[in-house]
């Protein structure tokens, strides 16, 4: 809370850190140019293709392959990274520095992909399927956005919801079971909404009524539901495998729009959860910033005493928002099940926490969260995808990447973001 109280000095990031970030980006760019680019020689080429993997609803208009000279492409991508770093250094960017680091991460991973897929080269996959990468990234991004929206709803009202991971898990389990039993994703979604809402209620009940520490209660709720999910997995799903049949939701293609190359398969040939997510982003943005309800929520999150003094019920707003947040994360869990299939106890693998970090990176705004989730989603998918190109980095190290970038981003953020002033502070009327 260093930013709002007068008695503590405001933590301003020293300019040195911005410079350090800038130089770091420049060095990564130089590594791209000289480490991967120069020296691959003029013979290798990298090929981009654009045909989506899923053409069950009809293929988009055909785009030919694009063959690029590997060396020059890498030099160009490296130069782009250097330019990003130089921009941070020259313009002394404080607020935008971490955004540049995020862009750097994506460009760098693309460069690694270009380098790894070069032919003649060691890669068994001779091309980069741009459309497939975007479709895969969109799936991860969607899950993260559900989590971030949940976090925004709770934290804008002043309650830290660290239990998103648990709500994902609960939604996943319940959604998978209901869909397996009824073959109806709509019922599954309702189930996820209810279980997520209940978990949100539990957090709200303990945090608002009993003024418990929200982070502690959140962590314990996650522990509890992790145990409960394992319990269900061995006690119910193993003897009744038809409750965990791993069906995934079919895509709802939007006619016409889905024919657009690249964009069509990514945005207009998705499951219903993707469109629901886009609608929720718009709805939450509008409700938070353009309606009376949103103003009240934000007042409760910033200055609960002041809000209470004009007759707003702080407890009620917080209850409603935490339950709503839980429900959104619960739906996110069902969406996870709808694209991933069978439930296993550790299936959510920390995505709820990454979503939380993305929410912070996105400054507690839906639009910012979408950008941050896209960054995490794309980089996570690229890192996972590199495995199939047999790059000389072991799989385990590649799998660390999403977590490492989350750590790196939260390390670069201080002083550049400000949480709602009453975030995480229990409110009591006395």
């Amino acid at each position: 809370m260093t930013t709002v109280t007068a008695d503590t000095p405001t933590v301003r990031p020293p300019l040195g850190r911005t410079q350090a970030i800038g130089w770091f980006v420049v060095v990564v760019g130089l590594v791209t140019v000289f480490g991967m680019g120069v020296g691959t020689g003029s013979a290798p080429h990298s090929t981009l293709t654009f045909t989506p993997i899923d053409v069950s609803h009809g293929a988009p208009w055909h785009l030919g392959n694009l063959t690029l000279p590997t060396e020059w492409t890498l030099v160009l991508l490296g130069a782009l990274i250097v330019a990003l770093g130089a921009e941070v250094l020259v313009r002394r960017l404080v607020k935008g520095a971490m955004v540049r680091v995020g862009l750097m991460a994506i460009v760098f991973l693309v460069a690694v992909l270009v380098w790894a897929s070069r032919q003649p080269g060691p890669s068994p996959v001779p091309f980069i399927n741009v459309t497939a990468i975007l479709v895969g990234s969109a799936a991860i991004t969607m899950i993260l956005i559900y989590g971030s929206l949940s976090g925004i709803l709770c934290e804008r009202a002043g309650v830290v919801n660290i239990a998103i991971e648990g709500q994902f898990l609960g939604g996943y389990l319940v959604g998978e079971m209901i869909d397996s039993a009824t073959n109806n994703w709509l019922l599954a979604t309702l189930g996820g909404l209810v279980i997520g809402g209940l978990m949100g209620w539990l957090l709200a009940f303990l945090a608002i009524r009993y003024l418990s520490d929200q982070i502690i209660v959140g962590v314990v709720i996650v522990t509890m539901f992790t145990g409960l999910a394992s319990y269900f997995n061995s006690w119910v799903l193993t003897p009744y495998p038809n409750l965990n049949n791993g069906n995934i939701a079919s895509n709802l293609a939007i006619p016409g729009l889905m024919k657009i190359p690249i964009i069509g398969p990514t945005f207009f040939n998705e499951t219903g959860y993707f469109y629901l997510m886009m609608a929720l982003v718009g709805l939450v943005s509008f409700a938070l910033f353009k309606t009376r309800w949103g103003l009240r929520v934000r007042a409760v999150g910033e200055q609960p005493q002041a809000a209470a003094s004009v007759g707003i019920s702080v407890e009620r707003i917080r209850y409603v928002n935490v339950i709503l947040g839980g429900a959104v994360a619960g739906i996110g869990g069902v969406a996870f099940a709808a694209i991933q299939g069978q439930f296993t106890p550790s299936i959510t693998s920390g995505f709820g926490y990454i979503a939380l970090a993305a929410m912070i990176f996105g400054r507690w705004r839906p639009s910012g969260a979408v950008a941050a989730c896209t960054l995490f989603g794309v980089s996570a998918y690229l890192a996972y995808n590199l495995q199939s190109y047999q790059v000389p980095i072991s799989t385990e190290i590649l799998l660390m990447f999403p977590y490492l970038i989350t750590i790196a981003v939260s390390a670069g953020l201080v002083g550049r973001v400000r949480p709602p002033a009453a975030d995480g502070i229990p409110y009591s009327r006395e």
């Binding site: 850190r17 502690i216 314990v220 522990t223 145990g227 269900f232 750590i407 502070i425």
Partner: protein
Amino acid sequence: MTPSLRRLWDHYRSASPVTIALLALVLGLVVGAVIIVATTPAILDAWRGAVHSWTGPGHALKVTFDNVGAAYRSIFTGSIVDPPQFWHSVTTGQNWTASLTPLSETFTYATPLVIASIAVGITFQTGLFNIGANGQAILGGVAGVAVATLVHLPMALHLPLTLLAGIAGGVVGGAIPGLLKAYTGAHEVIVTLMFNYVASYFMLFCLLSTPLQLPNQTNAISRTMPGGTQLAPLFGTASGLRVNYGIVVALAVTVFALWLLNRSSIGFEFRVTGANPHAARASGINARRTLVTSFLISGGLAGLAGVTWVAGTTHYIDQNFLQGSAGIGFTAITVSLLGRNRPIGIVWGSLLFAALEVGGSNMQANTGIPYDLATVIQSAIVIFVATPVLVKEIFRLRALRAESVKVATAGWGL
């Protein structure tokens, strides 16, 4: 009732921390029972039969109590003592191994748990969250196994060096969130949560690389630690009891923590910072140094917990080391809260939770009910302990003398 008895009764009806903890245990077991009832086919069938055939709830109730009773009886006999077996040993003097195995297992499991929980408790006392104790314990285990299997030394040096390596591994894991928070302000909750995953993948990476991997294996499994680097069983290998000299390490850590938190000036700075960071800063305590030191000590102890577990019981690690329900670093968070972040309380809390875990495995062996139920019961207990007002209301206790577990936090504190 005589006045003195009434006073005693009133004393227990008022919500002292011990009363709250015991009642929380009762409530936790009730939650567990509800879950068993709601998910066990035999019980559900009995109730469905009772509803359909209008026979009254007698039979269904009996089935319910039989099943829940069998589950909780297995937890008790598997973790503390099996009375018939024990009586058999007392009267005939035979089979002491079988009689003492439950307690031995509980103490075996409690050993690393005490250490890890104290690690978490120290950061809680400083007002910091170390949710990465599991990752730090993993690094400690990996470092310990590496030194034990790759270095050749006389035993007198090798075992201490193995334990030290474990501490060093954990210190590295603690330094990352500590330094990042001190010098960049990154919130330790996010960093430690992410770090757990990084540590798990790092362990897999190590287990699959030549130096550490068991030769001629493709699975993620390490070489076995040589005998000289293992923590020997307390009553000798012949006894068949797994309880080992790790207990000595755990006791030493407890004494160290008592000294650190109550007697040393660093510990005083920890507690002042935890109670009121503004006052701490005003009185000249170096906030940054306190934060980093707290995380280094906590990480080191978590690493020690990891290496103690390997050196004392399994003697090798595989890809399941401290994963999922076996993640003592996560259990440690709940134990620390149960023990109100104080060393002695943590020791009792570890014994209780270790008994639940060990008993849970016995329950799974006897009744098939998965041992993960133990995790659920533990979490429920901690939720109740963290909200004493709720327990007080449920049991209509008198004046509350227990405060809720306080950790000085202000949201993200960015």
